[in-house]
Every structure is written in structure tokens, then in C-alpha cells.
Symmetry: C2
Subunit: 229 residues, 2 copies
């Protein structure tokens, strides 16, 4: 569709809420001479790539939201991460994607060929460092999430989730969750009913308020921090 050769990260910085680290790095990387960045859009629930597919591209969310997940043979699903505007996803050191990715809502991404990034990394130490740093950031998230999945209670999981989303997508103290309760459950290792009950309980305690099931205002972040163990 739109093919553009990005010559500076200024273009990247025009898009939406800016998580610092990753975006700067992807900006640095897509600003590299000879790298071609393309935009592409996916509709709600559309697959971006499947598990074990060749990792041809690296992606950055421009608008919308993406879930990365693994499935067991009987359909049980573990979502490893949500990707929000500014986030880079699908970066692999090897040749295949270890998780599948789907658009949660209508989503536009920027993408660059993995091969061209690796090529750039071969001559530019800064690019090589960026790739490592981005993968290390994903690892840090995964390590934190293992602790959550293995050892936190349902209420602690939900509290941690709310604080993460608040940090990543709150605007004017309010967050608009793009994902449904089932997605949240599959991220936290819970059922959708348990997620719903925990949120209702937090509302009853005055810790948060709803305006529609997916519009949440946190009214007491300190209480949530105490709960998140």
C-alpha cells in the first residue's frame, strides 16, 4: 500500500501516545539509510502472522492494538503480550515467529523486512544494539509475567493488569481497553468470569469506576499497588 522511505525518526514520532524506549529505537532503525518501511492495516480479529510462520517482517503499531499468543492443541490460549501504539512486535532473532499475532481492533502497523534490519545491524553497531535492547525489553516483560502467572492470586493479577494498562494507555486519567474480558483472562491465566468478578469487586470498593465495561478510571492507584503483591 503506502511505501515510504523514512529518513528520520521524526515521522515515527508523529504517531500517537509515545512509549519512549522501543519507539525511539524503531525510529532509529527505520531511519537507517536503505530501510523501507511500509504501512498496512488489519481488521478486528484478523491474523497478522501465525505461530511458527517465517518471520519476514518486524512490526510497529501505529494505531489500534494487537495480541501475541500461543495455543495448546485443544484451544487453550496464553496471550503473552498486548501491543499498543508505538510498540514494536514480531521481532525475532531466528527465522520464525514464536507466537501468533492478531489485531484486537482495526489496526494499522508500520513494517520493515527483518532481513534488512539484520543487514543494517551487520554494519551499524547502533542498529545491532537496538535489536538486542528491544528483545531484552520483551524478555523483561516475560519474566515479570511468569511471576504473575505462576504465583499471583486472581485479584493480584487483575490489579497488576490495571496498573500496566494505566501506565501504557491512560489518557487524562482514563483508559479505554481495546480487549474483551476473555483476552484479559487469557493474558492473566484466568477465566473471563474471574476477571469480571475481580473488576466488579474493585468497583464496589471504590478503587475504580466504569463508564462502559471497557472505559475505566482508576480512583486509587495506591490501593492497587498494595494489592499487586
Amino acid at each position: 500500500m503506502l511505501t515510504q522511505s523514512l529518513t528520520s525518526s521524526a515521522v515515527a514520532s508523529r504517531i500517537s501516545p509515545v512509549p519512549q524506549g522501543a519507539l525511539d529505537q524503531f525510529g532509529a532503525v527505520t531511519g537507517h539509510a536503505g530501510l523501507i518501511a511500509t504501512e498496512f492495516s488489519y481488521r478486528k480479529d484478523e491474523e497478522i502472522y501465525g505461530e511458527d510462520e517465517p518471520a519476514e517482517y518486524v512490526y510497529q503499531v501505529i494505531s489500534g492494538a494487537v495480541r501475541s499468543y500461543k495455543l495448546l492443541s485443544d484451544g487453550r490460549r496464553q496471550i503473552g503480550a498486548f501491543h499498543l501504539p508505538g510498540d514494536v512486535f514480531g521481532l525475532e532473532s531466528g527465522t520464525i515467529h514464536r507466537l501468533a499475532a492478531e489485531a484486537i481492533i482495526d489496526t494499522t502497523v508500520r513494517l520493515v523486512k527483518r532481513r534488512s534490519l539484520e543487514l543494517a545491524a551487520g554494519t551499524d553497531v547502533k542498529v545491532a544494539r537496538s535489536l538486542w535492547t528491544m528483545t531484552a525489553g520483551d524478555l523483561r516483560h516475560a519474566e515479570d509475567h511468569m511471576l504473575l502467572l505462576g504465583r499471583k492470586t486472581a485479584m493480584e493479577k487483575v490489579a497488576t493488569f490495571l496498573l500496566e494498562m494505566d501506565r501504557r494507555l491512560a489518557v487524562a486519567g482514563m483508559m479505554a481497553l481495546p480487549m474483551c474480558r476473555r483476552d484479559i483472562g487469557d493474558y492473566l491465566g484466568l477465566t473471563l468470569e474471574t476477571v469480571s468478578r475481580a473488576l466488579s469487586q474493585l468497583q464496589a470498593q471504590g478503587v475504580l469506576g466504569f463508564s462502559g465495561a471497557r472505559q475505566i478510571v482508576l480512583r486509587n492507584r495506591q490501593r492497587l499497588h498494595n494489592m499487586d503483591a
Copy 2:
């Protein structure tokens, strides 16, 4: 990261022949001009580094075994990985260790200064690539482990654990586990009792045999593979 001769939980003395991936890379890296590799030993249960401590060194297990873990404030523990002879651990892209590390049994490691590795990565593209690849390997393990922690049953978790350990440390069809049932539980997000019951059940089904609680022979890997979901 295969085969070595950890022959019993008490005597784990010999260094393995070179396992492919990580060790080659660490070897390449420690063979780099100007890099100093030192050996150091830790006794059973001794801390190697703590969570959030400055990441001054990168380690490779020569003999013994190491657990990497995170703690919640009330002492609940999630072990993120076990490190066996040949494995590299403690590699960080940032300046601090995200998990703590302890020797499970008496352990000898080789270590190099993180700073010197980063320096080498700045001039040698191969070293830079190695660092990225090693971190990506850790990420892959963490992604698989999130699926296990969030979505597998107790029996599936134990089956997956046994197959992982079989792959990594079986010698002549037998494995000598260096870690206790509590460590296994904290790795799998279970209690030690649940781990013990699952192992007993597998023994009763003839899937495995014991010669001492930590010496295990797998008698039916296919059945374990079917169980591991």
C-alpha cells in the same frame, strides 16, 4: 545445550563437551582478544547475585546447577529458569539483574565482565549478534514457560518439565535432578506436594522409574509427550 555428565546430585564435577548454541557463542566471546574469563565456585544455596543488583558479570555454568528466580514481598517465589552445565546466565542488556540467582548444588562458573562484552560488541558484529541471540533464546524459553504457567494442568506441567530435563541432562537414559521438589514446584507454579503426587502417579503408570527420589528414568517418552498438551 545438551548432554553433560552430571552423574549424581552430590558429585557434579566434569565439564561437558561443548553444547552448540549458547556455549559456542560464549566461547567465541570469551575467546575474544582482551576478554578475561575467571572461574568461581559457590556452595549449595549460595547466592550468586540478587534481584536488582548491578549486572557486573555474565556467567556460564561449568559444573553444578543454578536457579534464577523472582520473589513477591511475602516470599512466594517463581523460578524462571534452571541453568545447567554449558548454559550462560545473568546476561543483561541493561545495568541490573532482573532475577536473582543461587547455586542449587555446589557449582563452578566461568564469568566475564559485562562491560567488556559490550565493548567487544561495539567493534565486533559477531559478538553483538551473539548477545542478541542469547537473549532471544532466553525469551523463547520464557514464552514457552508463560504458556505452561498460565494454561497447563499440574500433570501437563510435570510432563513438560520431565521432557525438558530429559533433553538437557539425561545421560544414558537417566537423569539426575539437582533440584528438590520445592524448586520444581516453584518453577512450575505448583506446590511441592502436587509435584510429588504427579511423579508418583507417573511411576504407578509405568511412565517413569525412580532410583532415589532424584534419579529418574523415563520409560515412555511418547506418553509424556501426549500428556504435555
